[in-house]
Symmetry: C2
Subunit: 220 residues, 2 copies
């Protein structure tokens, strides 16, 4: 495998995996690169280049073997093992995510919640126990935690990230709008629901203005 | 206001708004553009250009008026009104989001859930009633629904989007990995938790491989 797989290629691998899983579920054993790229909504040439960089090739006239695609891409993405998660902050979103089965289904079981609120520590949310911040070191060790999910208020997100990093966590999923500063060997991915909603309302408001004839041009 | 505000500028407005709200909460009445841009984690020149394109200017030697910033940016983003939301799909994530107070707090109250499962229709989740898909037209009208949130299985996300669009919804927040096809006047924003987790596990696995001395270069 090409050791320098680009960030853009990595970002598209989940789409290829999902497309292959969908095609397999519909009974296909092999798939043309045209069809696979259509399912993944990626340009065919880009997809062929991405897969070739992972040493995944199709057979001329036959296409890609669907099961092989699933096994190989899952392997490259590290999905052949579990990645236990700790959720930092048990406010509305932390609670919702602890109750959300989707993490566990995808190989990211929620092992613990961490919160500074002494009244919450010791309670369970969605079957997950809430711990105090000083417990994190022991938790990481005992539960083999690999990923930290930050759902704190924005003002303390950096503090939560620092605590994760100082306890050896190198993968962070940040649900706050705070831009986190972390060492170079830490990967941070962001999911910002509030920002996406505000961008939607911006365009909707402009659309409404345009609808009633103010003639404001849209550039979505 | 410059009618052709770029998508990149729109994408940064929520960060300026959050920075101004944080500064206001800490008691500041005015703020230098250096400080504001630092809080928003945006380059100062970019920020000044963005704000100028909205006719928001600071005063030399004083900076920006914090309360004025909040009022103006909120207005531009359309946050001076409520944008009722319908959640399409009451699986794990739909349920979690119905229970999540963050939508309502930010002016996006969840007015209804829609699901095809006849056993769920008529029940309430997080105080929100579940409706059958044919009810959507009446719901949009009665509840003045402006935004559709899609949390269905990926295979039926396009169908959910089509139903929203045919009922007049022009703003969609898509939590599925499906690339949606919609008319040009519909704005779609995506939040893809599964893909972000898979990207994290890719880099974590490579990091682990590097840790144990296989020498795989990292390109995060």
């Amino acid at each position: 495998m090409d050791p320098s797989v680009s960030a853009a290629t990595v970002g598209r691998l989940p789409a290829y995996l999902r497309a292959a899983i969908d095609l397999s579920a519909s009974g296909l054993a092999s798939v043309s690169s045209e069809r696979l790229s259509e399912e993944a909504a990626v340009h065919p040439a880009t997809m062929r280049r991405d897969l070739a960089s992972l040493d995944i090739a199709g057979t001329r006239g036959v296409g890609y073997d669907v099961k092989y695609l699933i096994v190989q891409i899952s392997h490259v993405l590290g999905l052949n093992q579990e990645w236990p998660v700790v959720i930092m902050g048990s406010g509305n979103l932390g609670k919702a995510l602890a109750n959300y089965g989707g993490f566990s289904e995808r190989g990211f079981p929620v092992a613990a919640l961490v919160d500074i609120d002494a009244e919450l520590v010791g309670t369970t949310i969605g079957g997950v126990l809430v711990h105090a911040p000083p417990d994190l070191a022991e938790l990481v060790d005992r539960e083999n935690i690999m990923v930290g999910v930050i759902t704190t208020p924005p003002g303390v997100a950096q503090e939560a990230a620092d605590l994760l990093v100082s306890n050896g966590i190198r993968s962070i999923l940040n649900f706050t709008p705070t831009a986190l500063e972390t060492p170079a060997d830490v990967t941070v991915r962001s999911v910002d629901i509030a920002t996406e909603l505000q961008i939607l309302s911006f365009y909707r408001q402009r659309g409404l203005a345009a609808d009633v004839g103010t003639g404001v041009p849209l550039e979505p």
